[in-house]
Symmetry: C2
Subunit: 249 residues, 2 copies
């Protein structure tokens, strides 16, 4: 197993960091790695905002549901889908790019582009001995986040990435069974097989929690998911995205 | 510079592969690495379909605009946003998860999850000496692709990943300037600075093409982008996604 695969498989989220900032060189390496990812038709439809300002970090931590590691880390990056750049390009080249830019297709392209870049950043950081945690919680209130980061229209902050020098080694949580996530030639058509895989995974996760909490917790994964999805969350999103003139048609 | 960062920075797309298939072990390693990526609230909202069947690969290559490397490669993966799994979970747990699952927020979550997984797969493959190419072209006709792969409702094939033993070393294309993609504390507010960065990049790209084509080609990046965005493409996407009961409200 090579060093790259070791790094990838060794991933776990980190939520406790030393009070020590990343160097400018580390930040530059992480961003350069992010930019090295593939991009759909060379569109490069994303931007990354690094947040150093303590007040801003504090506010972002509150928005994310008081996640203190959003405030206390080695550096906090915000990955944004960005089609503002291409809006400006259209203006300069005097071409009406609006119908294209406002399509669901281009919204998807920007999300995918930003995410591929982010994962490169995450792996690069981890390879340097740093710990990372993705922060979807900034989507709790994007109206506020866009004000804090002063992003123009058509720039959507998607998630944060807290990076830092980890102080505590978390455990890895087992993922869905390989054969449940990976299909060959066609999606699994046999529902019994499909449900059986989920049940096996439920047992695995239930045991995982039971062992780690002295029996206090033993919820199944499907139970966890149903509970989570029973709560509607961030239902303002469609309106927000469309107000930002994306995903409109 | 460690091996991981070297692998990431060495990325380029490959479109010519030996006639040699990946081993099952290589496929398993790539998928396991994909699954090792972060996932929003442990939701794991994606699936991956490996395509071996020659007829299916041929059809996918046609859909992607006759990209022959979709047909001829070491293995072809299709990364899908997947909220079908969670639909089934809702049914089994007798909880109405529909409003949550059909939200724009959860559509975004699934896209991000699938993309983070894909980039892990890409890096893992590259670390094994394999070449990769993302194939957005499958989105030219998702109605057909979902028939070929027999995906249920709420499974959206997002892009392919052609992987194989590369026969030709492509060049890396220079990315947008670091300071144009990376902002600190807030998005760049000075439009002159912003435009200046784009102009510098235009010169860089123009020279890049000129040198490599003996002066036959010297288009600027912004020109390329405006031209691309002038063509409306895949405008059926919103209807397709909503027909698949995602991104509805």
């Amino acid at each position: 197993m090579n060093e790259v695969i070791q790094t990838i498989l060794n991933h776990r989220s980190h939520r406790h960091f030393e009070d020590k900032q990343l160097t400018d060189e580390q930040i530059k390496t992480i961003i350069t790695c992010a930019q090295s990812a593939s991009t759909s038709s060379f569109i490069q439809a994303y931007s990354i905002i690094g947040v150093r300002d303590k007040e801003k970090k504090k506010k972002l931590a509150e928005i994310a549901g008081n996640q203190e590691y959003v405030e206390n880390n080695g550096h906090f990056f915000v990955f944004c889908a960005d089609l503002y750049r291409h809006t400006i390009i259209g203006e300069n080249e005097q071409i009406d790019v609006t119908p294209s830019i406002e399509s669901t297709e281009k919204f998807m392209v920007a999300l995918i582009d930003a995410s591929l870049a982010a994962q490169n950043a995450a792996i690069a950081a981890e390879s340097m001995g740093l710990g990372i945690c993705y922060i979807g919680g900034i989507r709790n209130n994007l109206d506020e986040v866009t004000k804090i980061l002063k992003t123009p229209e058509r720039v959507i902050p998607l998630f944060g990435l807290a990076v830092g020098f980890p102080t505590k080694l978390n455990e890895k949580k087992p993922r869905l069974p390989f054969e449940h996530v990976y299909h060959e030639d066609e999606y699994e058509q046999n529902k019994e097989v499909y449900l059986g895989q989920l049940q096996n995974y439920d047992n695995l996760i239930s045991n995982y929690y039971e062992e780690r909490t002295d029996g206090k917790r033993k919820d199944r994964w499907t139970e966890q998911m149903a509970r989570m999805l029973d709560r509607k969350s961030r239902m303002y999103m469609k309106e927000f995205i469309q107000k930002n003139k994306l995903d409109r048609h």
